[in-house]
Symmetry: C2
Subunit: 207 residues, 2 copies
């Protein structure tokens, strides 16, 4: 990887697209992501959220107008960050096959790494968003998805994959995001190994 995670994050923070993780807002969003993943959005109360950052529940509404706005912010910022990370990962590879591998690794890193809580929220809590904000998040996600479709279409053109790129991506989305429910980085299986397994499953091995 030529561009590292922190550089990308800082650039987004500078553009006000993502909250500074060290600021009050950023800290709250991180705790919110953790709570939303662990207990679900509905089971998490504003009192839980407030306690997690050490303030009174009413004080939350100085930073966010509603509880739902917190959920939306978690999702929006997560998509933005991951789109940037994914683009960087894709750009750094020079063959389609290497590009797919890099993207799978990047997505798994997001899922099991620091933004894992937020990624899980993105996967499991979209139903808790009401229509308008959901559409907003989905629109952002489309940009992210297009990065995947580009590389999968290239692989299809090369004959490296046989199935429809669109469907392959949807299957990959499910397969990779499902790892949040079972993969533990401290187990015997490293992240790179896991990527190898995914590539092997699609018979695209050759690390």
């Amino acid at each position: 990887m030529t561009v590292n995670r922190d550089e990308i994050l800082n650039a987004l923070v500078a553009d006000n697209l993502v909250s500074d993780p060290n600021g009050a807002r950023g800290r709250l969003l991180r705790e919110a992501a953790r709570l939303f993943r662990d207990k679900g959005y509905e089971r998490t109360t504003v009192r839980d959220l407030a306690a997690a950052v050490g303030i009174q529940s009413g004080s939350l509404f100085h930073h966010f107008r509603t509880k739902e706005e917190i959920l939306k912010a978690v999702m929006v910022e997560t998509v933005r960050l991951n789109t940037a990370l994914m683009r960087a990962a894709a750009d750094a590879a020079d063959t389609s096959r290497a590009r797919l591998r890099a993207m799978i690794l990047a997505e798994l890193e997001s899922i099991v790494g620091q933004t894992g809580e937020a990624m899980a929220v993105l996967v499991f809590e979209w139903r808790s968003l009401s229509d308008a904000p959901r559409e907003e998040v989905l629109a952002l996600r489309d940009i992210y998805e297009q990065l995947w479709l580009d590389v999968l279409e290239a692989l299809k053109a090369e004959g490296a994959i046989e199935a429809d790129p669109f469907i392959v991506r949807r299957m990959l989305t499910g397969a990779l995001s499902w790892t949040v429910t079972w993969y533990r980085p401290d187990g015997g299986l490293g992240l790179e190994d896991l990527v190898d397994q995914v590539m092997a499953m699609m018979r695209l091995a050759s690390r």
Copy 2:
């Protein structure tokens, strides 16, 4: 398929392992599954559940002691039914490859078919179950999962797949259950086509 769905269902009903879909309890569980999938368990109130079957909210507690017990019943009965269906699908095929194909088809049929609501609940709402009932459901699910591991291990031994069977199954779980979020049977893509795509993705085609 030599054994059809209704036969299997009736056998389970006769053994009291699954509620009669026409009975009061069965109807409630079906409506509960639909509501839980559409709005999530937490957002679904006992008043919603009662209204869906046309009774007062208090009357629910004549059939179930708590709201959580309804969720558990939905999950338990769904796993039981699908284990039976999956076993039948597996037994009817004679090669490992055909068996995997039959099982993928069976799982997709469960996901997009009549029990689809309940399957989605099983996937997305496990976090809403408290510890003890969750362990119970997971224990039942292990039986179901073993059916998959058996056929994947056979395929591995035959050299038809390259990756670890355990990991392949987890990837398949994610990929297939994720279809609930996007696949619509009335679109251009039929279920058999979708299975073909999955097999093609694993380079196991040859319908």
